[in-house]
């Protein structure tokens, strides 16, 4: 059994302007000792997914449906009492900004010991020893002296280490890292990622790594979820996602990042701007920006279709796989008034895609000549919000 199972999770924020569906039918599972990456742009719902698991949503946020099972225990609706035994103890979280997530009025030692005293039956001397041990584990020099210092005396990288020490002090089964290195420089980022990788192997915990940086994902993740506008558009092993992307959004992301061999060439950006979550379209949320969008994309959201054992994607371009696996009923679709050829054609194009996306040429493939452009993006370039 998987350590964490999330099924059809839906989280919404109820604002004055209306319901914002920040997380929409998200399902995934996480096994012990694995590193799962969740990638997406700002507003894609990656952090809200993590906060839903921890149930630390802001006041207006609410889990409106689905289930989160940790080690067989249902967490949705379990109540504060149960969550208190889980948070910081079984599942820990590291936040993005190490500058603001420590309390400036308490010493590092006090903040580290708080978690230990709360979740274990150690007395304060044992908790102190454990805190020093944790600081040593995350390579903080002179831990005894550092215990007495305040957060302002630490640099950004050091503070993030303290956060990691704090998160790991109770030996959690799952560590959620919400953009842990975004605020840090590359050299410090490398240190922190290295540290997380080695601790993960040492302690055998699972990590959920939330990031927008595909480089970080490539570095440490076993599995990857790509999110867009609150839903999962593609999920698979890191190799599958990078070398055989099957969702147009993932392909677009991979094409748009500069690499060492794009110098002197034009990047291929995704046109348009991210979607307004208050006005979600009926069909695929990426359709307005997708250059291969078909009629079916505008009207129907694609279900997740299995590409192979390690990979699935919610994109109509993979309709062939969906039909083969019995996940899609073509008759049901056509009854909604979509002309048949719209669905029958994509498989032809799709066949070539995996071959094209190999490690060496993934950057120069793409939007060339194929695909049906009958519903092309309305306007190139940005469109204004509001």
């Amino acid at each position: 059994m998987a350590l964490l199972e999330v099924n059809n999770l839906r989280t919404s924020f109820f604002t004055d302007a209306g319901e914002v569906k920040a997380v929409n039918n998200v399902s995934f599972s996480l096994d012990r000792g694995k590193v799962l990456g969740i990638v997406g742009e700002s507003g894609s719902g990656k952090s809200v997914t993590a906060y839903s698991i921890m149930q630390i949503l802001a006041g207006t946020g609410k889990i409106v449906g689905g289930s989160i099972k940790f080690d067989g225990t249902e967490l949705v609706g379990a109540g504060e009492k149960v969550m208190k035994t889980i948070r910081g103890n079984k599942i820990s979280i590291i936040f993005q900004d190490p500058m603001t997530s420590l309390n400036p009025t308490y010493t590092i030692g006090k903040q580290l010991m708080e978690a230990i005293l709360l979740h274990t039956d150690r007395d304060s001397q044992q908790a102190y020893d454990r805190a020093v041990e944790m600081l040593r584990l995350v390579n903080v020099n002179e831990p005894e002296r550092r215990m007495k210092q305040y957060p302002y005396e630490f640099s950004g990288g050091m503070r993030q280490r303290v956060m990691i020490a704090m998160a790991l002090a109770c030996e959690p089964d799952i560590l959620i890292a919400d953009e842990p290195t975004t605020a840090l420089d590359v050299t410090i980022q490398a240190q922190i990622l290295e540290l997380m990788g080695s601790l993960q192997k040492e302690l055998g915990m699972a990590i959920i790594m939330i990031t927008h940086d595909l480089g970080v994902v490539a570095q440490i993740c076993d599995e990857v979820i790509v999110m867009y506008a609150g839903s999962i558009c593609e999920q698979g092993t890191a190799d599958e996602i990078f070398y055989n992307p099957c969702h147009e959004y993932t392909k677009g992301l991979l094409r748009s990042i500069p690499t060492t061999d794009t110098a002197g060439r034009k990047l291929q950006p995704i046109t348009g701007t991210p979607i307004d979550l208050l006005n979600m379209p009926k069909g695929c949320p990426f359709a307005p920006r997708c250059e291969f969008a078909m009629k079916v994309c505008i009207n129907h959201r694609a279900d997740r279709m299995r590409i192979n054992d390690d990979h699935d994607a919610a994109c109509w371009m993979n309709v062939k796989h969906g039909v083969q696996n019995g996940e899609i009923d073509l008759d049901e679709l056509s009854s909604d008034g979509n002309p048949k050829e719209k669905k029958a054609e994509p498989p032809k194009e799709e066949k070539k895609e995996p071959v094209k996306y190999t490690a060496d040429n993934k950057n120069n493939t793409g939007s060339s000549n194929k695909g049906k452009k009958n519903k092309k993006n309305k306007k190139k370039g940005d469109e204004s919000v509001g």
Partner: protein
């Protein structure tokens, strides 16, 4: 196309547009009663930028890269050193005023660098007002619309306020503003780091296109090394207020000579799992020292595994080791053989 050919010619000539000689910028920090200490944000940096070229400037936070860009435009008064533009030293107030018609800046944060109480056309028109670059109102309006066209904004956006736009579009407004005076040189201070990945590529391409179209010269300051590699012709690496290496972009990536550049470049997360797994990173220990208490001699010696006594005694000279490849390290020859 004519314009493009023109730009290429300029690059071939390798005529320096900007020359910075031994630039110094110290901020005096109060450390006690009537006691202050210089924070050497930029300490003796020299380089040139040729016409039509993009010079990338990279380094960790606190290394002084942003200060270099700002001091070059005299947004800070330089503590020492000289700035030459097109063969003329920028010194007096009138020089500076003239210089600012030729050199402008794009700021990092598109959320805080646009005045929320001004409409887009006022924001873009402000440099025109300041330098009195139009004779009639119609002329001003035409110029604003032309600039908005350059950066891919629609004319109906002109009357809107900055908050009505997304991050990528705000950055476009900022770029249009910097283009208003028809500059030759733009300092781009982390112009894409606040943007989402999919928007980043749009803006980077726009910088490329504008350079081709208008023959611009850029100083591109950023900490994202893949972005810098993509856009730059040459790249300079800074550490603690000093320039440690300067070389053509491809060369510095393939053959970095300074131990700091080596570790910085190896730390770049490559978005490719197979390469990432095979990549042996040179992980530096410790943090960047405070510039208030910078180490003696070579600033990098406290984190450098090749450091010797000599490194503590004197700052290595910034010298050319092969054509166009400058490095400041006592042990360049030993560690790269």
């Amino acid at each position: 196309m004519n314009l493009l050919a023109d730009t290429e010619k300029k690059v071939d000539e390798k005529k320096p547009l900007i020359e910075v000689k031994d630039l110094k910028e110290y901020f005096y920090i109060n450390t006690g009663w009537f006691v202050s200490k210089p924070l050497k944000a930029v300490d003796g940096v020299s380089f040139t930028i040729n016409k039509g070229e993009t010079l990338g400037l990279v380094g960790e936070s606190g290394c002084g890269k942003t200060t270099v860009g700002r001091t070059m435009l005299h947004l800070y008064k330089p503590t020492g050193g000289e700035i030459w533009y097109d063969g003329k030293q920028i010194k007096t107030r009138s020089d500076i005023k003239e210089f600012r018609k030729k050199a402008t800046m794009v700021f990092q944060d598109p959320y805080s660098s646009l005045n929320p109480r001004m409409t887009v056309s006022d924001i873009i028109g402000e440099p025109l007002d300041v330098h009195k670059l139009y004779s009639t109102k119609q002329e001003r309006q035409d110029r604003i619309l032309e600039l908005m066209g350059y950066v891919g904004l629609n004319s109906e956006h002109a009357a809107r306020y900055a908050h009505e736009f997304s991050g990528g579009q705000r950055q476009r407004i900022g770029i249009a503003r910097s283009l208003a005076v028809n500059p030759d040189f733009i300092v781009c201070d982390e112009p894409v780091s606040a943007l989402d990945v999919s928007i980043q590529a749009q803006v980077i391409n726009m910088f490329d296109e504008l350079q081709e179209k208008l023959g611009l010269t850029y100083l591109f300051v950023a900490h994202d090394l893949l972005v810098v590699r993509h856009i730059s012709d040459r790249i300079a690496v800074m550490y603690l207020g000093k320039m440690v290496e300067l070389a053509p972009a491809a060369e510095i990536y393939d053959r970095p000579l300074h131990p700091y550049s080596k570790s910085l470049l190896s730390a770049v997360p490559v978005p490719d799992p197979k390469i990432a797994r095979a990549n042996k990173r040179i992980v530096l220990t410790g943090d960047i020292p405070s510039p208030l208490n910078a180490p003696s001699g070579c600033p990098f010696r406290t984190r450098c595994k090749y450091a010797t006594d000599k490194c503590a005694e004197s700052m290595p000279e910034f010298k050319e080791v092969s054509t166009g490849h400058f490095v400041a390290c006592h042990r360049t020859a030993d560690i790269n053989s």
